[in-house]
């Protein structure tokens, strides 16, 4: 097999390689100062009057919040690092949103200990899947502000899931609901060869990693 031709002098997008933050960059990643927009379809632009967020599925009672109800929930602002499977990492991103723990308060999870997973549903049809444990205990939020401003539509606004400890495709844009289920089911990218779990520190990018 012939050796790959190298384009003399080509470096690609500016990639910061500051050694002082090396331990914050998972294996195989590079830091970027940009915030790339990866898009698999048209940007949904739902009416906030009709927007709602629902938690349903194999649980006793469904929960639902309208946008105005959602904004009245306790909010947090957090600074987190995010890691995209396409190899860019962005440090110290600032988000404001509602902790998933707050949303799950209305679900008696102890009574339903076999419900171990959630399927995330979004405007535009995107889906992803996660273990329930990975969105509890301060690990996940529904974020509606980025950097102190309302979350832009191309970055998932009005609200997106934020799960910074996993690759960023799990932080589903335009999130509208969680279906809590007993059996895990693969979402949009998981069913196309990406890892079911997606831990950037174990470099779990693809199925079988």
């Amino acid at each position: 097999m012939a050796e790959q031709f190298i384009s003399r002098g080509f470096k690609g997008r500016a990639r910061v390689t500051d050694q002082t933050i090396k331990e914050r960059i998972p294996p195989g990643q590079y830091e970027t100062n940009e915030f790339p927009v990866l898009s698999a379809g048209p940007t949904p632009r739902p009416s906030l009057e009709r927007w709602d967020f629902q938690i349903y599925g194999e649980i006793a009672e469904d929960l639902k919040w309208t946008w105005s109800e959602f904004l009245k929930l306790p909010r947090e602002t957090m600074t987190v690092d995010i890691h995209c499977v396409t190899k860019w990492s962005k440090l110290d991103t600032v988000w404001t949103g509602v902790s998933v723990d707050t949303l799950l308060e209305g679900v008696d999870l102890d009574a339903q200990s076999d419900v171990g997973y959630l399927i995330v549903y979004c405007d535009g049809g995107y889906t992803t899947n996660l273990p329930l444990a990975d969105v509890r205990n301060g690990k996940a939020w529904i974020a509606y502000e980025y950097g102190g401003s309302p979350l832009a539509a191309e970055h998932g606004g009005p609200a997106r899931l934020l799960v910074p400890h996993l690759y960023f495709w799990k932080s589903a844009k335009w999130v509208r609901g969680f279906k809590l289920v007993k059996e895990n089911r693969q979402g949009f990218w998981e069913s196309a060869g990406y890892h079911n779990y997606g831990d950037p520190w174990k470099e779990q990018r693809y199925a079988g990693d």
Binding site: Q4, F5, I6, S7, R8, G9, F10, K11, G12, R13
Partner: protein, 249 residues
């Protein structure tokens, strides 16, 4: 004929500054050039650490030309175009694959294409595949009436300006209509705004003539043009589109 395209290396034999932000790369291909006007190539750049970036560029040269011409607009925060217009030098090689495409193509020898007038609508560097068509048409001595409506930011940004003037001088069946969207010279009597429905109605062909349209350029322009032409009665199967993405590329 089933075929699988392979990556090959073209050698840069000439670099031409077309406008302040646009350069044409003229490439020698080992197997020569055999393409249809309108087709494109995929260009792939590989960094030393293995990182790769790939983009499509329309072939601007005619099938009859000895070398392959790619016309590239430099986008400041782009990834590939700054390399192609600022780093790549004569004598160096470029990895590419092609020719690709069987939809956005025009061939003088294809009987279907000769009977109704052609409307070519270009935005910025979207003129490249349409230029391949015009060059090929001139080489073939083809006389199907054709109008090129070409949108540029300013007079200095018109790519192939002199060559287009030359083609028009020598061919009464070709008309080139410019519109300059941001800046116009003092003595400018042409259009001075973005392409709109009125301009297409004036500058295009009557729908009853059953025109065939090729439109290429930024996605927003191409979609706007296609929608207006449909409103003007053009048939959707006779409007061929090629989107270049956001302005530039």
């Amino acid at each position: 004929m089933a075929q699988q395209l392979k990556w090959q290396l073209g050698t840069v034999v000439e670099i031409r500054q077309e406008t302040p932000s646009v350069k044409s790369l003229i490439l020698h291909l080992p197997g020569g050039t055999m393409h249809l006007a309108g087709q494109h190539v995929d260009v792939r750049l590989t960094a030393e650490d293995g990182y790769q970036a790939q983009r499509s560029y329309s072939i601007a040269s005619a099938p009859e030309d000895k070398y392959l011409m790619l016309t590239v607009e430099n986008v400041d925060d782009g990834e590939v175009s700054p390399y192609l217009t600022g780093v790549l030098q004569i004598g160096e090689q470029l990895e590419l694959r092609g020719p690709i495409g069987g939809y956005f193509v025009w061939s003088a020898s294809d009987a279907r294409d000769t009977s109704s007038p052609l409307l070519l609508v270009a935005g910025g560097s979207g003129v490249a595949p349409l230029m391949a068509m015009l060059r090929h048409r001139a080489n073939a001595g083809h006389k199907v009436p054709v109008k090129l409506l070409y949108s540029s930011r300013s007079y200095e940004d018109i790519i192939y300006r002199e060559e287009l003037e030359h083609l028009v001088e020598n061919d009464p069946s070709l008309r080139v209509i410019h519109t300059l969207t941001r800046q116009q010279p003092e003595d400018w009597t042409g259009y001075g705004r973005r392409i709109d429905r009125e301009m297409l109605a004036e500058a295009g062909w009557p729908a009853a003539d059953n025109p065939l349209v090729y439109t290429c350029g930024p996605t927003a322009l191409v979609e706007t043009v296609a929608n207006y032409l449909l409103e003007l009665g053009y048939e959707s199967e006779r409007i061929k589109t090629e989107r270049f993405g956001p302005t530039g590329g």
